[in-house]
């Protein structure tokens, strides 16, 4: 049985909806059944955003993942993913960007969230923002993280790459190429 429960967390404008669209199209192409919940409206305006993404051979029932049952948390901002730790399963993988979005006055010390993350049995922090900048795609941190999490997503690499191409094809070949490169970079980080 191929089955996955994933939570995507971040700040409005970081590209969570793009990621869930790519994942949805990938799973659809693989003939899987999908349920994913999104946050629209007011909460996108620089606020906390979360999306639950599930696939299964049969149609998953709930669009929200019950507590303690997420296989992976993918966080585009360190403290955003930590909010959803009660949803992570015992052997769950926590993957997070390490660059902070400090648009609130009381943002915690870097050390504080690092300590929390270090307590987890399985985790990976990625400086996705820096890699995106190096790849000359300022908004590409989400794709770096997609690459870094790909070994845990139980989806075939070719299908993800196909969905990536489709997603960005309207922006031209150059953008597609840059995104594919960022995905690969992320993937290498996960392997190293």
């Amino acid at each position: 049985m191929n089955k996955l429960n994933l939570i995507l967390a971040g700040v409005g404008g970081q590209g969570i909806l793009t990621l869930s669209t790519i994942l949805g199209q990938t799973a659809l192409a693989e003939g899987l059944h999908i349920k994913q919940s999104e946050v629209h409206g007011m909460a996108q305006r620089g606020g906390a955003v979360v999306s639950h993404f599930r696939f299964n051979d049969q149609q998953p029932a709930s669009s929200l993942i019950p507590r303690g049952r997420a296989d992976v948390i993918l966080s585009l901002e360190p403290i955003e993913g930590l909010r959803y730790l009660p949803w992570l399963n015992e052997n769950g993988m926590f993957i997070s960007a390490s660059s902070e979005v400090k648009n609130i006055p009381n943002y915690p010390e870097t050390k504080q969230w690092q300590k929390e993350m270090n307590k987890l049995p399985r985790k990976l922090a990625v400086d996705a923002q820096k890699i995106a900048k190096q790849g000359k795609l300022r908004k590409g941190a989400n794709i770096v993280l997609l690459g870094a999490s790909s070994p845990y997503l139980k989806l075939r690499e070719e299908s993800i790459l196909e969905a990536l191409k489709k997603q960005f094809s309207k922006h031209g070949r150059e953008i597609v190429k840059k995104n594919l490169a960022l995905f690969k970079k992320g993937q290498q980080l996960a392997a190293s």
Binding site: H40, G41, A43, Q59, S62, S63, L82, P86, Y107, L120
Partner: protein, 522 residues
């Protein structure tokens, strides 16, 4: 193989309506319903067929236009958020009395937990009150299929029909299998003029007619597979699950739970079916997203002999949306957290975007409020409502669309001075115009700031009908030319803006300041 498409609950309804042969979609934006209309607007087939797909100025005008379309024999879809139905309540209740010719479906999205709303009202109460049938899908596939059935039922019973969904279904996606699309209705206008002419003579007849239809609908609801028992009726405990509550129940019944369940997707409430089911058990768990609609009915009928677990006895929280976790608890299951949320994690509420024109408006508005203890800024709903929060703290009310101008007028009537109204351009064309007319009629001493950012920003940047020309609208309503100003919200203009505001606040009549700079997101 049939066509599969990944669709939001909202989009499934839109696609369902298109495939059911709808000729017109009518709407005013409102989270979580906005994507229904947006989907129709972007849809290729809708373009080819030239389905009507423009925003209306508010929910009432949207529903009335749709009523005109179905009067003419075509099918129409109207979509809105729950509080939109308050605005459209007059044509809604009366459209049940007139009945319809072509199919009329209202897709109404409720927002339990008030993710982006002012209240948690449950549309099922409206349906009951107006004697209108209501479908409540559990998932996207059902949302798609029930929309077609809703159009069928609407034409069969000649009544408007509601399809109700809640935020979680509206905004979650699943793969949906599509049916063969069917053609639209031909133009076939009503010829019996007493049907839609609700003078008492006709209305009394029509109402009796509606009562007859209600009886038939109740029978339909009792017999329909839309309200269906799953599992074997045995044991001490049964579940009644409505709409998305059934999908949360299924999350556990697929793997770890064996309890019979009566799944409700259609109203009027199948009362006999519910009681017959409930009478098999000692205990009933009621799962519904929204207010305790079915639970209240069951408690009234069986509260004395049956243990009923739901929102009214504390098994589930009294307010807020139903979740898979609260469902698990209500069913006596554990969903275990293995890791806890770190303490002291700060929240991250939404904020105005950097460079937002509203911030500059609050900047000069704030000065008046600071220097004048009695000044009150009655405001409204939109991105600018964030002006309530620090660092701005520049508005004092937000009640319902349009209430800024009318409340300012009432406060001025009561002697409050200065009474300011702060309203967005789309909110103004939604329901600010008539209130402004009241103020002009009485020459009320109020100062109205229309924050014109050229869009309906809060709901994601839909067209704003104010584009037809705010100045002309205001002048046409009777605002005096010398008391109508157009300001630009920029820090470099602050002193100038403040001077105009200070002067107009002292004017003993209506002043309107159109504060104009586009939203940075468009």
């Amino acid at each position: 193989m049939q066509k599969r498409k990944l669709l939001l609950g909202d989009e499934a309804i839109a696609q369902g309506a298109l495939d059911a042969g709808v000729s017109g979609a009518y709407s005013y934006p409102g989270t979580p319903s906005t994507e229904i209309m947006e989907y129709v607007m972007d849809n290729k087939q809708a373009k080819i067929r030239n389905v009507h797909r423009k925003w209306s100025s508010n929910e009432k005008t949207a529903l009335e236009a749709a009523l005109g379309a179905v009067y003419s024999g075509r099918r129409a879809l109207v979509s809105m958020k729950h509080v939109g139905l308050n605005v459209a309540a007059d044509p809604f209740v009366n459209s049940a009395i007139t009945g319809v010719n072509g199919g009329l479906v209202l897709a109404v999205a409720d927002d339990p937990s008030m993710h982006s709303s002012q209240n948690e009202q449950d549309t099922r109460f409206y349906a009951k009150f107006a004697r209108v049938p209501l479908f409540e899908p559990a998932d996207q596939q059902q949302a798609y299929e029930l929309t077609r059935r809703a159009f069928d039922l609407s034409e069969r019973f000649e009544l408007p029909v509601i399809i109700r969904l809640t935020t979680r279904l509206a905004h979650s996606r699943a793969d949906v299998e599509l049916l063969e699309p069917r053609p639209e209705n031909e133009l076939d206008p009503e010829t019996e003029h007493n049907r839609y002419t609700l003078i008492p003579l006709n209305a009394r007849n029509n109402y009796r007619n509606l009562l007859d239809k209600s009886e038939k609908l109740e029978q339909f609801s009792e017999q329909s597979d839309l309200n269906k028992i799953h599992g074997t009726v045995a044991g001490k405990r049964g579940v009644i699950a409505a709409g998305i509550g059934y999908s949360y129940f299924s999350e556990y019944s697929q793997t770890e739970l064996d309890i019979p369940c009566l799944h409700i997707s259609f109203y009027p409430t199948p009362k006999r079916k519910i009681l017959k089911f409930a009478d098999n058990f000692e205990e009933i768990v009621v799962l519904e997203d929204g207010q305790p609609f079915l639970e209240e009915f069951l408690r009234d009928a069986r509260g004395d002999r049956l243990k009923i677990c739901g929102r009214l006895d504390g098994t589930l929280p009294r307010d807020g949306e139903l979740t898979p976790d609260s469902t698990a608890e209500a069913l006596g299951l554990q969903t275990t957290a293995h890791f806890s949320k770190p303490q002291d994690l700060p929240g991250r509420p939404p904020r105005l975007c950097p460079g937002c024109p509203h911030a500059d408006s609050f900047d000069f508005l704030g000065e008046i409020l600071e220097t004048n203890e009695n000044a009150r800024a009655f405001s409204d709903i939109g991105c600018y409502t964030l002006g309530f929060l620090p660092p701005y703290e520049a508005i004092h009310t937000c009640v319902d669309m349009g209430a800024s101008i009318t409340m300012a007028k009432g406060a001025a009537d009561a002697g409050l001075h200065p009474a300011l109204a702060v309203i967005g351009d789309s909110t103004f064309t939604h329901s600010g115009l008539t209130g402004l007319l009241d103020a002009i009629y009485e020459n009320s001493p109020i100062t109205v700031l229309i924050l014109d950012n050229a869009t309906t920003a809060m709901t994601g940047g839909q067209a704003s009908l104010a584009e037809v020309g705010l100045e002309d609208i205001c002048l046409g309503l009777g605002v005096e030319k010398q008391h109508l100003h157009v300001l630009k919200p920029l820090s470099t203009e602050k002193d100038k803006n403040l001077a105009v505001l200070k002067e107009e606040v002292e004017h003993k009549g209506v002043s309107v300041l159109i504060v104009r700079r586009p939203c940075v997101q468009i």
